[in-house]
């Protein structure tokens, strides 16, 4: 964990906060372009095939994890493109970030499956 935090501090030092945020906004923009139709598709498929709701929630969790991974990889790529000769272990940090995001998304998905959806069906 300390190594992870230290790498983030190094990223800030090497690229500067402005460049890190610039790369983040770029990755968020492109991820949003993928996320928007994905969410619309899921909303519309769910309304048509509501009896398979649990299946759709599971698939949605997988898709959100993939889009989150895409956003993080684009963020990493944007940083790589800004300074191609840096020697920071970006891959390791962003892979760990993908796992953390994945776990959070899975927990939210499980909360929906176990608590919120049964409550909504009253």
């Amino acid at each position: 964990m300390n190594k992870y935090i230290k790498t983030w501090k190094d990223i800030k030092k090497v690229f500067g906060i402005k460049e890190v945020l610039d790369a983040l906004f770029g990755s968020l923009l492109y991820a949003l372009l993928v996320l928007t139709p994905s969410v619309l598709i899921f909303m519309q498929v769910v309304s048509m095939y509501y009896h398979l709701l649990s299946l759709w929630v599971i698939l949605l969790v997988i898709v959100i994890i993939l889009i989150s991974a895409l956003q993080l990889k684009l963020w990493q790529k944007a940083l790589d493109l800004k300074k191609p000769d840096h020697e920071l272990p970006l891959n390791r940090v962003f892979n760990l970030q993908i796992i953390i995001h994945g776990i959070i998304i899975i927990i939210i998905g499980l909360l929906f499956l176990i608590f919120f959806i049964p409550m909504m069906q009253i």
Binding site: D22, A23, F25, G26, S27, L29, Y30, L33, T36, P37, L40, I41, Q44, V45, S47, M48, Y49, Y50, H51, L74, K77, A78, L81, K82, M120, Q121, I122
Partner: protein, 353 residues
Amino acid sequence: MNELNKYLWPTVKILIIPYLVLMFLLLYRIEYQITAPGGITEVETLIDVDYEVEDSKGSFSSTYVISFRRPTFFQFIINDFSTYNQVIILPEYYRHYTDSETRQISYLQKMTSVDASIIVAYELASDQNDDIVFDESSTYRVVLVTGKAEDLSQYDAIGLGDEFISMIGENDVVVSDFQNLEDFMIEGETYQFTFENEESSYQVSLSKADIEDDLLILNEYLLVDSSEIYPQYSEKESNIGGPSGGLLQTLSIYNMLVEEDITKGYKIAGTGTIRYDGTVGYVGGIKQKIATAYLNDVDLFFIPDIDERYSSHNYLEALAACEEFGIDPEGWLIPVGTVEQAISYLEGLDPHE
């Protein structure tokens, strides 16, 4: 960001047209209505009667379908992949309603159907259980706005669900019986109507044409005065609207008021509106409701029996749906004309193993 733009531009260039086409399919809405299977809701989770009786071993569930107006092109296309869904052209009389108005109508139907279920169930149960207090003073009549045509002169002023109080007709006669309104109006004149909602009462001027041409749809309902009944009941907020849960609501409430558990351990679902005299009315979305019940493994399903006043029959539609989905209707699909018939049927069943 510029570096990323440059890096991704070749991919964006290729995908931009398909992306715009996809977004068009996902956002452009067309004048159709799609009905799809929904789910079942145990009535006990919605209505609770504060009275101690034997715990129910089975359950009564109302069946709901998902019905949505103006689907997108994308929904219209994927609808073809379902054997359960049904698509129709949006009825003309329904087109002008906004989504919010449709929801209001649906919740109004639900609210009045729960009151009808309470009335029928308490009346029936009071014959079996002397503890129950329910008589003529337990209900009151209201006339509610249940629909508005697009051409109604005061469309925005009158709210769906608002209560009609009175009209000042010709020669300043105050008319509160909504069925006699036309008798006190003359062509070309406007008259002051009084309506009331939860916030206030208000007046609007309507002409004879508004009433004569059914541009304003008023219906009379009986509502329950909960201070005049025993036992008390409570109703939870629900996302599900419409009147089709009436029969199952009535059966479930009745079961909460009598000693014997009429579920006999069965998982019971069904559909059908309930009238104040205990008769069961027709509903829509039969095929999707049968599919919903089938997908939820219910033990038996009540359906409105054939009623010669209608041209197409819920029971026959249900039989056709059972055949299509490979369900044996014998002992599973139970046609009933009244709530008493449903109770008699359940009383004649052996307990579930």
